[in-house]
Symmetry: C2
Subunit: 142 residues, 2 copies
C-alpha cells in the first residue's frame, strides 16, 4: 500500500512495471500514488496535470493508465457506460457509486461474500469480481 509517510521511489515503481521512467510517467505516477487511494478518469487526470502546469497529452494519459493497469498498479472500473475509472487501490474491495455526483468510494472487501458460483466451462477462470453498489439521492459528501 502506498502512503505519504514513507517516500515512494517513482522511478523504481515505473521501471518495475517494465516502463521507462519518463517525465510524463513519473508525474502521472506521483499524482496517482502520492496521496493514497484515488478513483480517476483519464480526463480528470489530464486536466489535473494541466492545472499543475505539467503539460501532457491526453493520449499519453490513456497510454499510461493502461500500462499501469496491465502492470497491476491500477485497476480499471466500469460504472457508467462510456466512461472508465482507474482505481489506485488494487487490493480486494468493492465500490459504492454515487449516481448523482459520480463519486466512487471504497467498500472493504470482506463486507461482501460470494457463495456457490455456477460451474465454469473447462479452462475458464474468474479474472475478477466487480461489485458496485449504486446509491441515489445522496451527494456523496460524508
Amino acid at each position: 500500500m502506498h502512503n505519504a509517510v514513507e517516500a515512494i521511489d517513482f522511478a523504481e515503481l515505473v521501471r518495475k512495471a517494465g516502463l521507462r521512467p519518463t517525465r510524463q510517467r513519473l508525474s502521472l505516477a506521483r499524482q496517482l500514488f502520492l496521496n493514497g487511494d484515488r478513483h480517476v478518469t483519464a480526463e480528470q487526470l489530464h486536466s489535473e496535470s494541466l492545472g499543475q502546469g505539467f503539460g501532457v497529452s491526453l493520449a499519453t494519459v490513456y497510454n499510461t493508465l493502461h500500462q499501469f493497469t496491465t502492470a497491476g498498479l491500477l485497476r480499471e472500473l466500469v460504472v457508467d457506460a462510456g466512461r472508465s475509472y482507474f482505481d489506485t487501490n488494487v487490493s480486494a474491495h468493492h465500490h459504492l457509486y454515487f449516481e448523482d455526483s459520480g463519486e466512487l468510494r471504497d467498500v472493504p472487501g470482506d463486507n461482501v461474500t460470494i457463495g456457490d458460483l455456477p460451474a465454469l466451462p473447462d479452462g475458464a477462470e474468474i479474472s475478477r469480481v466487480d461489485i458496485i453498489i449504486r446509491v441515489k439521492n445522496g451527494d456523496g459528501t460524508s
Copy 2:
C-alpha cells in the same frame, strides 16, 4: 415472469408502460420477451430486427430500450466501457461475463450475499447492486 407457454399481450404490456403500442414497439417487445431471458445490446436488437425483415431505425431501438428500462421492463447493465446491455430479467440476480465472447449469463441472486455496508449519507438509498463475475479463457459455451 414472461414465458412462451401462455401468450403475452404485447399491446397491453406496452400500454401499461404508458406508451403507445406502435408497430415498432410491439415488434421489439416480441423479440425481447417472447422467448424468455435475454441480454442484448441495441445494435444486436437492431440487426436482429432487420434480419427478420422488420425495418426499424436504430434511434427507435435506443428510444424503446430506454423507455422499457424506465418502465421497469428491462434493466440496463454496464459490463464494458462503451457498451450497454439490456436484460429482460429484472428480478434480483447477478452476472457472469465471458470476456472473450462478450456473453452474459445469469447467476441466481441468492448465490451472493452482501454483508454490512458502510453507512450511507442522509437521504441516500441504494438503487441497485451490480455484481459482475468476469471470466476469461472460456468461450461461454456450456
